[in-house]
């Protein structure tokens, strides 16, 4: 089972590409190929203002978006033994780590912070995908334990935001045991009667998806995120069949009953705050103006084919399906939706054609 599968590599490329674009310029949306001006995109929380495609967002921006007034206290990552396997492939793991640290200015693939959301105390553990593909080794596991301890100590909710290709192979079994270790962290929060929310973002796969990311009280996914256990290519090689277009997307997981809801980035904070306030029996959060998220002034513009009018009703829709009788109906529904989505999407470009078109223009 390849946790950091080949599917990750093109994604790293797509992550790196936008960075080559200077701040005052534009980039192309991977969803609709529309032009996106960098400043407008940032204002819109890195969501395409033409088609609603969710581009990756830095952890810093993520935390500012989640916490009240964008204010939070960063918690130092605990120290862990450094490269205990003395792992070396074509390069030394120690060197790879050094490079990633230099490149990102981060200690490892996770950031933990505490603050409030709608006045409710929360601890957030968010993955930095740009740090070795967000892979989970001892540092990440230890950080999740630390985040959980902090949540229990301050009677806060725990929110994890995975964005990870899976376990960090260079730590061998010491990375695999982060699966139980991170789940123990969650157990501590649950034992304390505090809520644990998972915000699944693009991508969440392998040992990360098969551990703390799938034992939440609430699972929320960002639209279009790739979430799954095995990599697409591994599955294609194993089963030798073409996979559905929306395979392993957030929407696919919603249809298959694995996440509670798919929520647009602009609505995440309100949704999570509202859920937490009910689970923790806190006062009802102040309602913002309709469609209001206060941030993305262009969020209403252009429509959002992927999630338009879909996010909240969809979970209800799913619940109403009589699972035993209508599994096939549900599948058909999924297919229709996938087809509709595919039709509405202006032919989502596979990597190659996108590159070709880009060079033509």
């Amino acid at each position: 089972m390849n946790w950091l599968t080949n599917l990750i590599r093109p994604r790293i490329r797509s992550l790196v590409e936008p960075k080559d674009v200077p701040d005052n310029l534009w980039q192309k949306c991977a969803g609709c190929e529309g032009m996106l001006f960098h400043r407008d995109l940032l204002e819109n929380m890195n969501v395409c203002y033409h088609c609603g495609h969710h581009l990756r967002i830095s952890v810093k921006d993520r935390l500012e978006m989640m916490f009240d007034n964008g204010a939070y206290d960063k918690i130092d990552l605990p120290d862990v033994p450094h490269d205990p396997l003395k792992f070396k492939d074509r390069r030394k793991y120690a060197d790879r780590i050094k490079d990633s640290r230099a490149k990102t200015g981060l200690k490892d693939a996770i950031t933990i912070a505490k603050g409030t959301m709608g006045g409710i105390p929360v601890v957030i553990a968010a993955f930095n995908f740009s740090f070795m593909g967000g892979s989970m080794g001892a540092a990440v596991g230890e950080a999740i334990l630390k985040a959980a301890e902090e949540a229990v100590k301050s009677r806060a909710a725990l929110i994890t935001v995975p964005a990870s290709g899976g376990a960090r192979m260079q730590e061998g079994m010491l990375s695999l045991v982060q699966m139980p270790r991170s789940i123990i962290a969650v157990e501590m929060v649950k034992d304390a009667g505090l809520p644990y929310v998972v915000l699944l973002t693009d991508p969440t796969t392998g040992g990360v998806s098969a551990s703390f990311a799938m034992v939440g009280d609430i699972h929320i996914a960002e639209p279009g995120s790739m979430i799954g256990f095995a990599g697409r290519r591994v599955i294609e090689e194993t089963v030798r069949e073409t996979l559905p277009d929306d395979f392993q997307t957030a929407e696919y997981l919603l249809e298959h009953g694995i996440v509670d809801m798919v929520v647009k980035r602009q609505e995440l904070k309100d949704t999570i705050t509202n859920v937490l306030s009910m689970l923790m029996k806190k006062p009802q959060p102040e309602k913002k103006a309709k469609n209001g998220n206060g941030n993305g002034k262009k969020s209403g513009k252009g429509g959002n084919p992927k999630t338009n009018g879909k996010a909240p009703p969809a979970s209800g829709e799913k619940a109403s399906i009589d699972m035993e009788k209508d599994v096939q109906a549900a599948r058909a529904l999924g297919q229709v939706k996938a087809a509709q989505k595919a039709a509405r999407r202006i032919s989502k470009p596979p990597q190659k054609s996108a590159a070709k078109k880009a060079s033509n223009s």
């Binding site: 080949n6 862990v80 192979m169 040992g207 990311a213 069949e241 298959h256």
Partner: protein, 314 residues
């Protein structure tokens, strides 16, 4: 199936077998020749198995003749009563579980079965479980707790099955919940890696109070082949990857990932199955005797602490 590095031994053994069938007047000479060659073969076996490389261990761990889950069931469990299904979608033949008696005492036993010939391998999906397998294992662990029966798990899988249906039905969730269930089950859990411990699909049932590995078994975050194709961008580097991953019982014991190593007979488990299973049985019995007197909450606490401590003091 014969392993490449075993060839000199197998050739010698072949010659000995031939000699035994020779009818000759000179029996005394033949007998002494057999004795001489047998001694040579034995010495070669000891030498070879005394210094197996990690890549060779990978081959031994995957050897088709190695005792598999159902061999253990037949040999160390009495009155085995398989319990099928996750009560939801399907029965998974890759991950078998049920009730049985170990040394006369009832227990729940769960493990991966790879199969021993083409037909049975297909039937057991080569030991690669789907979500239903991991949900069945959760169900059985909860039952074990309900009736205060210890749990024994035998791990032998290349990994959880990567398929469309498995993803559709939540492979990740099933594995995550299986780990969570292991952590919550208030009865002793003993896990033995009997062959291949393939990443998430293995650890899903191996979060235990005592974790043992057979001497030539392997336990890894990813297969050496997979690791090589990703990190070296070339599957041909699997041997180097096997070494780098520190996937042998000896390495993992040093790293504090497992509690102990169970000896295999000289020449590997596939040469003397019963002796191997006897060794495993003895180790499980010892562990159970230690753990059964523990009260429920200290079991859980200690299990958590054990995993929290992993990797901290290296």
């Amino acid at each position: 199936m014969s392993l490449e590095f075993e060839k000199p031994i197998l050739e010698l053994e072949g010659k000995i077998a031939e000699l035994r069938h020779v009818t000759s007047d000179n029996r005394v000479n033949i007998a002494s020749e057999i004795t001489r060659m047998q001694a040579k073969a034995d010495k070669l076996l000891v030498q070879t198995y005394g210094k197996l490389t990690p890549a060779q261990k990978v081959q031994v761990a995957r050897h088709q003749e190695r005792p598999h889950f159902l061999d253990y069931i037949n040999y160390i469990i009495e009155d085995f009563t398989p319990l099928a299904g996750d009560r939801n979608f399907a029965e998974d033949h890759a991950l078998i579980g049920g009730l049985g008696r170990f040394k006369g005492e009832p227990c729940v036993i769960i493990g991966h079965e790879k199969g021993h010939d083409t037909e049975s391998r297909v039937y057991h999906n080569f030991g690669m479980a789907r979500p239903e397998g991991y949900r069945k294992s959760q169900r059985l662990m909860k039952m074990a707790q309900q009736f205060q029966l210890p749990v024994i798990t035998l791990v032998d899988t290349a990994g959880a099955y990567p398929g469309v249906g498995a993803e559709e039905r939540g492979q990740s969730e099933a594995i995550a919940k299986s780990i969570e269930t292991c952590l919550r089950t208030e009865v002793p859990i003993i896990s033995v890696i009997i062959g291949e411990g393939g990443s998430g699909g293995a650890i899903a049932i191996a979060v235990a109070d005592r974790i043992y590995m057979l001497e030539h078994s392997i336990y890894s975050v990813i297969s050496p082949e997979g690791c090589a194709s990703i990190l070296w961008r070339n599957g041909a580097h699997a041997e180097e990857a096997a070494t780098a991953l520190k996937l042998t019982a000896q390495d993992l014991h040093r790293l504090g990932i497992i509690d102990d190593i169970i000896d295999e007979p000289i020449g590997g488990a596939h040469r003397r199955k019963e002796e191997t299973m006897e060794n495993v049985s003895r180790q499980i019995e010892k562990a159970l005797n230690e753990l059964i007197p523990w009260d429920r909450s200290s079991l859980i606490q200690n299990r958590r602490s054990k995993f929290i401590a992993q990797g901290r003091n290296l």
